[in-house]
């Protein structure tokens, strides 16, 4: 396994299984047990785009393992505003930290950063590209709350611009999941990604209707339609609010259904669903901590 964590395509199923098993061991620490595993180590967080959950869960993971965090701060107040290239920033910060978590608006930024970095780069999202740590925590949530093998999952919402669903669908294809893609026509998963998934042996079908599949699936993975990814706001308005998961919709759900969401949500899951036995999205955001602990410990050579 490479020291960098850039894309799910760099992981085999065996490597994913190792990470998920290890995350289980980190769970008590994520809940507050003391650890000094990464004592004396420093993590640098470079977020060129806004982030709440990803940044805070990385910080939490690092601090709960006894390490420290340094943060680039806002791009406007850093050397980036003076015109410094990412390649230079990475080489400078690499002198201070043991690993770098990077979120950047450009696709491929993390891959390029890895070419310049002497410390491990962990990709926390590169534009509409990859977000592997989100995918790993999604897989961990499914493993903990449902079952990763032979499961039926529906991915709902923005399947065109949503980076989390591309990475997740790719990883699920390694587990031979039965994947249903639910989106309006304008937001369908790009053909090239579907082609890649089929090449992996994924079983895929497409529909625009949640009701059609709600009674057949084990996992309903809902995504936000991301306004910021639309080149045109008129296009966004046409599809905003098109899917809404409600208690009424869930009347036909299987008993063991779990509902996931990478968060933040807007209106795609009705708040009344939070009280149902199906909701797992808050649990899912907690699982980000043990999974990121595992990745940090691996990147820094502590496990």
């Amino acid at each position: 396994m490479s020291q960098h964590i850039i894309s799910m395509k760099d992981f085999s199923r065996d490597e994913i299984d190792i990470i998920l098993n290890m995350a289980r061991e980190f769970e008590p620490i994520a809940r507050g047990s003391k650890s000094s595993l990464l004592s004396g180590k420093i993590l640098a967080t470079l977020f060129y785009e806004p982030s709440t959950r990803t940044r805070l869960s990385f910080e939490t993971a690092m601090k709960r393992l006894g390490g420290d965090v340094i943060d680039l701060g806002s791009v406007e107040s850093s050397s980036v505003a003076k015109g410094e290239t990412l390649a230079d920033t990475i080489r400078v910060i690499g002198n201070y930290a043991n690993a770098i978590v990077l979120r950047h608006p450009r696709e491929g930024a993390a891959r390029m950063a890895a070419e310049y970095s002497k410390v491990p780069i962990i990709n926390a999202g590169d534009g509409a590209g990859h977000h592997p740590t989100q995918t790993l925590l999604d897989l961990y949530t499914i493993a903990r709350e449902s079952n990763l093998s032979d499961m039926r999952i529906a991915l709902v919402g923005d399947l065109k611009y949503g980076r989390t669903v591309h990475s997740l669908a790719y990883a699920l294809s390694l587990y031979h999941a039965d994947i249903t893609l639910i989106s309006p026509k304008q937001l369908q998963m790009p053909d090239i990604i579907k082609k890649d998934l089929k090449k992996q042996g994924a079983n895929i079908r497409e529909t625009s209707n949640i009701e059609e599949v709600i009674g057949e699936i084990d996992v309903l993975y809902v995504t936000r339609i991301q306004k910021e990814r639309f080149p045109d706001t008129a296009e966004y308005q046409k599809v905003a609010g098109i899917y809404r998961v409600t208690e009424e919709l869930l009347e036909n759900a299987r008993d063991n259904l779990i509902i996931m969401h990478p968060m933040p949500r807007v209106d795609e899951i009705d708040p009344s669903v939070d009280r149902t036995k199906y909701a797992r999205y808050f649990q899912q955001s907690f699982y980000g901590v043990p999974v990121r602990m595992t990745l940090l410990a691996m990147a820094m050579g502590a496990v």
């Binding site: 894309s7 290239t85 990412l86 390649a87 950047h104 608006p105 450009r106 696709e107 491929g108 930024a109 891959r111 390029m112 070419e115 590169d126 534009g127 509409a128 590209g129 090239i192």
Partner: protein
Amino acid sequence: MKKDSVEKKPAGSWKKEMLVRPIRQGTVIDHIRGGQALNVLKILGIYGTTEAVVSVAMNVPSKVLGSKDIVKVEGRELEQKEVDRISLIAPDATINIIRDFEVIEKYRVELPERIDGVVKCNNPNCISNTHEPVISKFTVNKKPVDLRCVYCDHVISEGIADHLI
């Protein structure tokens, strides 16, 4: 090295060859897909102001390709980098090296596994399209020919010639 004498060819192909005159010294690029000759010239850096002696035949009937283009360049043998570029837009092309009117070497172009610094990524949001110190890199899929950006995963499958740097 495969020797292939021009004189040994049957009469029919002589007629095709004579569409453009034989060259003494240089390179004949044959079996270029019809319509790609001007892109091959672009790859070779041959524009309107060139002083090189160049002959071009376009849309010559071909049993294998339907129609093909031929480019003959006097006094020049190609570098591997140029051949790699040609292979992207004309994967069936053959390169004939000519000395004293004789074909002294003939080979088919071969697509490389990876191609660096040759094609610009078609994703405007790719990190390789910024002021960062990064050279474009693509992995090459051979059948059908398409290029996948190492950085952003975007695929160029049509109009590769339009993306040549």
